[in-house]
């Protein structure tokens, strides 16, 4: 069993949080964009699955190299209706004077950002602990 494999798991975790951050940032950045009816930006979400590492057999006999790690399997558009804002002078306004904007929920997006940040920190901490343990193991052979 290799301790390097443990670092890969933390790296996979950080990759996933990075992808979630990109989606959340894109949603917030595009929240105020407009479009002709039906053609507005659709908020994005990333689909994350746990996949077993290489050489994995039965679930009850996993090693550091085969433990499940998260992976982004795709990006999906959230099926939310556009937000209608009354702004008759706007070039994208429809016949009744409403402008379509993406149905981004700013509060939910901010909460997502907090959760992403915490998860990333946790993965980084796990990475750091593994690194410290590896370093101490190596030091042991130097001291004597």
């Amino acid at each position: 069993m290799s301790m390097f494999g443990i670092l890969d798991i933390s790296a996979a975790g950080m990759d996933v949080q990075q992808a979630r951050l990109e989606a959340a940032a894109a949603n917030l950045a595009n929240a105020q964009t407009t479009g002709q009816a039906g053609a507005v930006y659709q908020p994005l979400t990333v689909v994350v699955h746990s996949v077993l590492g290489k050489g994995a057999g039965a679930t009850d006999n996993l090693s550091a190299d085969s433990l499940p790690r998260p992976a982004v399997t795709g990006t999906a558009e959230l099926d939310v209706p556009p937000r209608l804002v009354y702004d008759p002078g706007h070039p994208d306004a429809d016949a009744r004077g409403f402008v379509s904007m993406p149905g981004v929920d700013p509060i939910a997006s901010m909460l997502d950002l907090i959760s992403i940040s915490r998860s990333y920190e946790a993965n980084l901490r796990a990475f750091d602990v593994t690194r410290t343990l590896m370093q101490r193991t190596l030091d042991m052979s130097n001291h004597r």
Binding site: I6, I9, V48, S50, S63, L67, R69, A126, T132, L133
Partner: protein, 122 residues
């Protein structure tokens, strides 16, 4: 004849280190997969494994293989969902345990070296 380097304590310590390293891997996996739909929290039964190993060590001839059940096993934990704060605390505890085992290993080697040098310093 039993040699100084084949003392059972080395076998027990290195197996304990293996289990502790696997525990670190499992905590890492739990933290990385926290919040992923369908993920079931994993665990390693450290104490049970060590008890079985140490029983075999003391009972038999000091052989250094795992008991018949095989090596340490990754099992599904009783609590299904990962709680990040709890997982971090458990990881810190098991990292301390790993470092304690390393210290024990170092001290054992130190004693051997003292014996080799007939108690002289340096």
């Amino acid at each position: 004849m039993s040699s100084i380097v084949s003392q059972p304590v080395f076998g027990v310590l290195s197996q304990a280190l293996d289990v502790a390293a696997l525990k670190q891997a499992v905590h890492t996996a739990n933290i990385a997969n926290a919040g992923v739909p369908g993920y079931h929290r994993l665990d390693v039964s450290f104490d049970a494994q060590m008890q079985r190993a140490s029983d075999e060590m003391t009972a038999a001839d000091g052989s250094e293989s795992w008991p018949s059940g095989g090596g340490p096993r990754v099992v599904r934990a009783a609590d299904e969902t990962v709680r990040l704060d709890k997982e971090m605390a458990l990881m810190a505890k098991d990292a301390a345990r790993y470092q304690t085992l390393l210290s024990a290993f170092e001290h054992t080697v130190g004693l051997m070296q003292m014996a080799i040098k007939e108690g002289r310093e340096g």
